[in-house]
């Protein structure tokens, strides 16, 4: 039992990252119908920004302010800065290609991602960085189940973020505009909602979320390297589409599902076969639920 509970906590932590990152994917996908292949690298860049801000704050304010204030400040400032990366990617890579085939926009995204990776490598060199701990780590043991305060924090903050985003999308005017846009992006601009505002906003929110995920990631897996976003980005892409188009709830659930599958497959089967079995399960899920979890029907005809 404790073995199962231990892995449940492991899976919740790991799934949280997939969930938060794939939500950013899913929003762009829902509103603009394009794959944002730069998202994994936006996550990477967000983590590096978080690293810079955190290092600065710890150096300057660690004696003056309590830990949680520093933590909150780092999160907010990083989110703000990182959201501009999202805007940048939209304006440079996606806006000129709005009338183009969707795949072409995906390729520009992919290429912007490669530029980010190489840029960091040139700028900071081959050295890997270690994310400074924003709070002291404590290990707790309850009945043989081990967890740290960081694990709990990751899970809780991810849930808060997702709920806040859900509120934003469901309750505010901006959220309504986004939902409308994802329902029919040809008709909505005619109603006076500018796609040139909604699209960057979507990218910015996605990038902001990714950067928070990056800070949490830096606490849980404190090693930064320029290629850290590649694999996690492609996996979040799987989760985003698996969740169904334009469904935040679906993307979050698919993210957790992916985390659970990866952790529990390694628990039950020999871990050598993890990827083989995990992705076969995804293939099976899609065979029987070809529309994903919460996907809606396409209202407008797909472009190429």
């Amino acid at each position: 039992m404790d073995y199962f509970l231990q892995n449940l906590i492991n899976a919740l932590q790991w799934g949280s990252f997939y969930a938060v990152i794939s939500i950013g994917y899913s929003m762009v996908y829902g509103v603009l119908m394009v794959f944002n292949f730069a998202h994994g690298d936006i996550f990477m860049l967000g983590t590096y920004i978080g690293f810079a801000i955190a290092t600065l704050f710890i150096a300057v304010f660690s004696a003056l302010l309590p830990t949680w204030v520093i933590f909150a400040a780092v999160v907010i400032i990083t989110m703000f800065l990182a959201s501009w990366i999202g805007v940048f990617v939209e304006v440079v890579g996606y806006r000129p290609l709005r009338q183009a085939p969707r795949a072409s926009a995906a390729i520009t995204g992919l290429m912007i991602g490669i530029i980010f990776e190489t840029g960091i490598l040139i700028f900071l060199g081959a050295k890997r960085l270690s994310f400074p701990p924003l709070m002291e780590s404590h290990v707790y043991n309850i009945g043989g189940v081990y967890f740290t305060n960081i694990k709990v924090m990751v899970i809780v903050i991810s849930l808060i973020l997702m709920l806040a985003l859900h509120g934003l999308i469901q309750k505010t005017k901006w959220g309504m505009a986004m939902r409308a846009m994802s329902f029919d992006f040809l008709a909505v601009p005619l109603m006076g909602v500018s796609i040139n505002i909604i699209a960057p906003l979507t990218f910015a929110i996605g990038a902001g979320l990714a950067s928070v995920a990056g800070i949490l990631y830096g606490q849980a897996y404190p090693i930064l390297d320029p290629y850290m976003g590649v694999l996690i980005g492609w996996k979040a892409f799987v989760a985003a589409i698996l969740g169904g188009r334009g469904s935040i709830k679906g993307a979050a659930m698919a993210g957790y599902l992916l985390g659970f599958i990866e952790i529990f497959v390694a628990m039950v089967f020999p871990s050598t076969f993890r990827d083989l079995i995990a992705y076969s399960i995804i293939l099976l899920i899609l065979t029987y639920r070809p529309r994903g979890f919460f996907g809606m029907e396409y209202s407008t005809k797909l472009r190429l």
Binding site: Y3, Q6, N7, N10, A11, Q13, W14, T118, L121, G125, A126, K127, R128, S130, S137, V139, N141, Y146, F147, T148, K151, Y221, P222, I223, D225, Y227, M228, V230, L231, E262, I263, F264, A266, M267, S271, T272, R274, D275
Partner: protein, 391 residues
């Protein structure tokens, strides 16, 4: 038409004037190829290789070139990036051999690239020294391929025996990267060596993950449940800190033992306190080094601001080996094919070469007979010499 002809003539004349200034007979330059992972998964390894090679070149240039058969030759380095990809390593080797006419190649470092690249070097009869590749296949049946380090079949039992002697444990767990050549090979060798001593089933958990994974919690939970007393993880410097930290977070209290891939200076820098007190096998130990080794470490540290890892030291040795082989080759004919073979023969004859990572004599396969060092990470985070095991 006439205008075009005129323009062409002008262009030719213009270019010729510049070009002829560099005209002259072809001079023989000794070119040494470096095949290193400057980008990709392990850029730090590439950086160490490059810096060591540049230091070596500085020395040569200070001496005014390499003296072979009473004549001084200019030396050039050709540094190629293999992007940590095997096909790119093959391309880089082909390019350096057929286009740049290199005399010797040093690199690639990881076995995943050194095995296929060695095939190319051997086909073209060009000497290649891989400083860091511990996989037996790199030099097997390839007279032109050498290496600067010991082999996995030697290292695995060394670590296994060390753990048994030091701690007296009987149950061990292994965590390795299934998609990467080196950890996988070493994990297998270790398993075999351990089970030979402690009987079948004494490896109680044999878990794996895939390159670029960062979450090992499921595997570590399994390892912990298996009742293993020690964890052996032959991983690279970017994964070790994550594995050690996550193991501690999951309540693992036993020792964690590693292999020579831990040797990078970054391991401790990234890992911090959780890694203190752990052991790993290596080619050399930086803390407390003496003589030429210390000289090299200090010089490197001064130039680049950190203690060189084993890759840099091994690359340095490989280049010095190559240098000695070239000097022993007698004379350079200028015919690259003949010279390459002469260098190869000279290298195979090198006896008791005093390298900074130990003395070396090559076996017939081109593998040096070398001692392994067990290193302890001390309380200051330095790599301290603990024990030396010789074949």
């Amino acid at each position: 038409m006439r205008k075009i002809a005129f323009l062409l003539v002008v262009a030719v004349a213009f270019v010729m004037v510049f070009a002829f200034s560099g005209c002259g007979d072809r001079e023989t330059v000794i070119k040494v190829g470096i095949n290193a992972p400057l980008t990709g998964d392990i850029p730090k390894v590439g950086e160490g290789t490059k810096y060591a090679a540049q230091m070596w070149l500085e020395d040569i240039e200070k001496a005014g070139g390499l003296e072979v058969g009473g004549k001084k030759y200019k030396v050039e380095l050709v540094i190629e990036d293999n992007e940590s990809k095997s096909d790119s390593a093959v391309k880089a080797n082909t390019k350096m051999i057929t286009q740049d006419d290199v005399l010797v190649i040093v690199g690639p470092q990881s076995s995943a690239q050194a095995v296929p690249a060695g095939e190319v070097a051997n086909n073209y009869k060009t000497t290649m020294i891989s400083p860091w590749s511990t996989n037996p296949a790199t030099t097997l049946d390839r007279p032109y391929v050498f290496r600067g380090c010991f082999l996995d079949p030697f290292q695995g039992p060394v670590v296994a025996n060390f753990i048994i002697e030091e701690f007296g444990f009987t149950k061990a767990a292994v965590l390795y990267d299934v998609a990467s050549d080196y950890p996988k090979g070493l994990a297998e060798v270790f398993k075999a060596a351990w089970e030979k001593k402690n009987g079948a089933g004494s490896i109680v958990a044999y878990e794996s993950f895939t390159t670029k994974d960062t979450d090992f919690s499921s595997q570590l939970t399994k390892i912990k449940r298996s009742g293993a007393q020690v964890l052996f993880t032959p991983q690279y410097y970017n994964e070790v800190p994550l594995i050690v930290k996550q193991a501690k977070d999951l309540g693992w209290t036993g020792p964690i033992v590693g292999s020579d891939s831990w040797g990078s200076a970054e391991t401790v820098e990234l890992c911090g306190e959780p890694c203190y007190g752990q052991f790993f096998s290596s080619h050399y130990a930086a803390a407390g080094a003496k003589g030429a080794t210390k000289e090299f470490i200090d010089r490197y540290n001064k130039a680049h601001g950190y203690i060189p890892d084993d890759v840099a030291a091994l690359t340095w040795d490989a280049l010095r080996l190559a240098q000695q082989a070239i000097e022993n080759a007698g004379e350079l004919t200028g015919k690259i094919e003949t010279d390459r073979t002469a260098v190869r023969d000279a290298l195979a004859k090198v006896k008791d070469f005093a390298g900074i990572t130990g003395n070396m004599t090559f076996t017939e396969e081109g593998d040096p007979i070398k001692c392994a060092v067990i290193v302890k990470i001390n309380d200051k985070g330095e790599y301290e010499f603990y024990k030396s095991v010789c074949p």
